[in-house]
Amino acid sequence: MEIWSALIQGFATAATPVNLMWAFVGCALGTAVGVLPGIGPATAVAMLLPITAKVDATASMIFFAGIYYGAMYGGSTTSILLNTPGETASMVTAMEGNKMAKSGRAGAALATAAIGSFVAGSIATVLVTLAAPVVAEFAVKLGPPEYFMLMLLAFTTVSAVLGQSTLRGLTSLFVGLALGLVGLDQISGQARYTGGVPELLDGIEIVLVAVGLFAVSEALHAVLFEGKVEESQNRMSRVTMSREDWRRSVPAWLRGAAIGAPFGCIPAGGTEIPTFLSYATEKRLAKDEYKAEFGHQGAIEGVAGPEAANNATVTAALIPLLTLGIPVSNTTAIMLGAFQNYGIQPGPQLFSSSAALVWALIASLYIGNVMLLVLNLPLVGFWVKLLKVPKPQLYAGILIFATVGAYGMRQSAFDLFLLYAIGVLGLVMRRFDFPTAPVVVGMILGPLAEAQLRNAISIGEGSPMVFLERPMSVTILVVVLAVLILPRAVGWWQGRKAAQAAV
């Protein structure tokens, strides 16, 4: 019962008044940024990264986890009540949730989303508790070749599998890798791409890239294209669920959690696939009398399932982050950046070297889930008011917070010019539908992957064959190739079948 006592210890750390305060502020702030359009958890965590200079590691990780978590709860509120979904994660929730709200069932939709998030989040937290130490124990055995292959897998899935176009995904990834190259080379200490600018020797701050790509580009995009967009808000109704709603929601929550959690565990993140999968499952399994509700009055299963899947995925995504040090989404990538600011490298050793921190973080997930349920059920009316903030003040205000994040990190006005440049880059990317997650993941993971690659080849005494000589690394390589080739092969095959059928 080693895990049990470690977890109790974690609760003891997480439940100190100061840490509870950080968890609460994180959850509240997370819900707020989830509700507010134009700002998400990745942006919020990035803007607040400068606090890592002063706040101690445990407190700030609890704080960031609260934001990460809270934003998922808040995001569903917006997607149910507004006709424009905030997060990609809540796109599916928006489909049925919006329909439910339009037919006067906003309250039931909000309730099933919040309770479902709680149920699935708690199940996934139990999974993190039980599985993470086991994975960490296993991961200790991995050497640089295996790590490099795992990172390659993360790169592949984040750029080539998620998103619309593999070409644009890969372009984004390599732009991210290029940004990660700026600064001193980790192994040889060689300066690369600094152009003689001393500020660039330390590399480009992740805060700048994240805040520029998400917040500044969002504001610039809004002012260019969204001035005339009319937003309509659905009417609120009492946040409560009938007996029938419960009966329909509970199985959907459990199925959503079962679908979502495995997707979080593998270094192939993204919530799009599990949420869509859960939606499709619910639609197929729905009883005939409810099937007609899908896409019309809005079916409660279609909110409950995907919302649970979403939360299970983001929670379980902490397993690869903590045990392997591999982030698979914007927010986890930035949380990895936060760990790095403390000189902590997440990975298998984390569970032995920073056991107190890890277990406090895991305990805070349980606590955070309860806090969020309270924040989002009785107090949902308060968050809904945030949707009334007019756009000019909202975006102008976001820019002030962007300044804090970008300037606070290094106290350099040069960074603010760079922030603008990255904002414009983000605007171009957004305009032409280039995904941003590969940039952030590439930038943070790039230097780590490079170090693993070079260490691996050193082990192989200069030969890249080392990747093929070790069974684990070959296995992962095969998975990478499968991930790249299978979807295309299936698409090609289906296309051929369709063409044959047409003839």
């Binding site: 400068p50 804090v404 300037y407 050193s458």
Partner: protein, 171 residues
């Protein structure tokens, strides 16, 4: 093939050229990085060359897509409305003025200025009338009301250095 019926635009071509340009820039930079590989067999210039080559290939494919019908699988088609450039200029002015003035004006005033300019851009984009002095004053006050507590919170409670106008730490 699923292909969008969107005309290839000049802008998409420019994006492709931009990617190629970045690739060439990276290659030019990679030339100056020594290749001393040591035991590794892979030196500090390996990844720069790899990234540069990969971006060149990506840029090439993007240009090919543009020439053969435009970007594939565009999720977010360009909105029908033309971009509202005056708003963009106001907001850019706000951000750049903030970058230029933050060390002289201090965080609060500089951010309030950025707030006023950015908010004006967005108001104009929404078609609001901003000719009077009232909006300027209102936005200025709102800007200070947001920036000042943020400044105090970060400098006093979190001990993060943000520039002030005076040495007192309150303004």
């Amino acid at each position: 093939m699923s292909q969008d019926k969107r005309k290839p635009s000049l802008l998409q071509g420019l994006v492709g050229l931009g990617v190629v340009g970045i690739a060439l820039g990276l290659a030019a930079g990679a030339l100056t990085i020594p290749s001393a590989a040591g035991y590794g067999g892979v030196g500090p210039n390996f990844l720069p060359w790899l990234v540069s080559a990969a971006l060149l290939v990506c840029g090439g494919f993007i240009l090919y897509e543009v020439r053969t019908g435009g970007f594939r699988h565009l999720e977010e088609g360009p909105p029908d409305e033309a971009p509202y450039w005056p708003g963009f200029i106001w907001m850019s002015a706000g951000l750049l003025a903030n970058a230029a003035l933050i060390t002289t004006l201090g965080f609060i005033l500089s951010c309030a200025l950025c707030f006023v300019l950015a908010s004006r851009g967005m108001r104009n984009a929404q078609g609001q009338d901003t000719s009077g002095l009232a909006t300027w004053i209102k936005d200025g006050i709102t800007g200070v009301l947001i920036a000042a507590p943020v400044y105090w919170l970060f400098t006093k409670f979190l001990a993060i250095n943000l520039p002030g106008l005076t040495e007192t730490g309150w303004l």
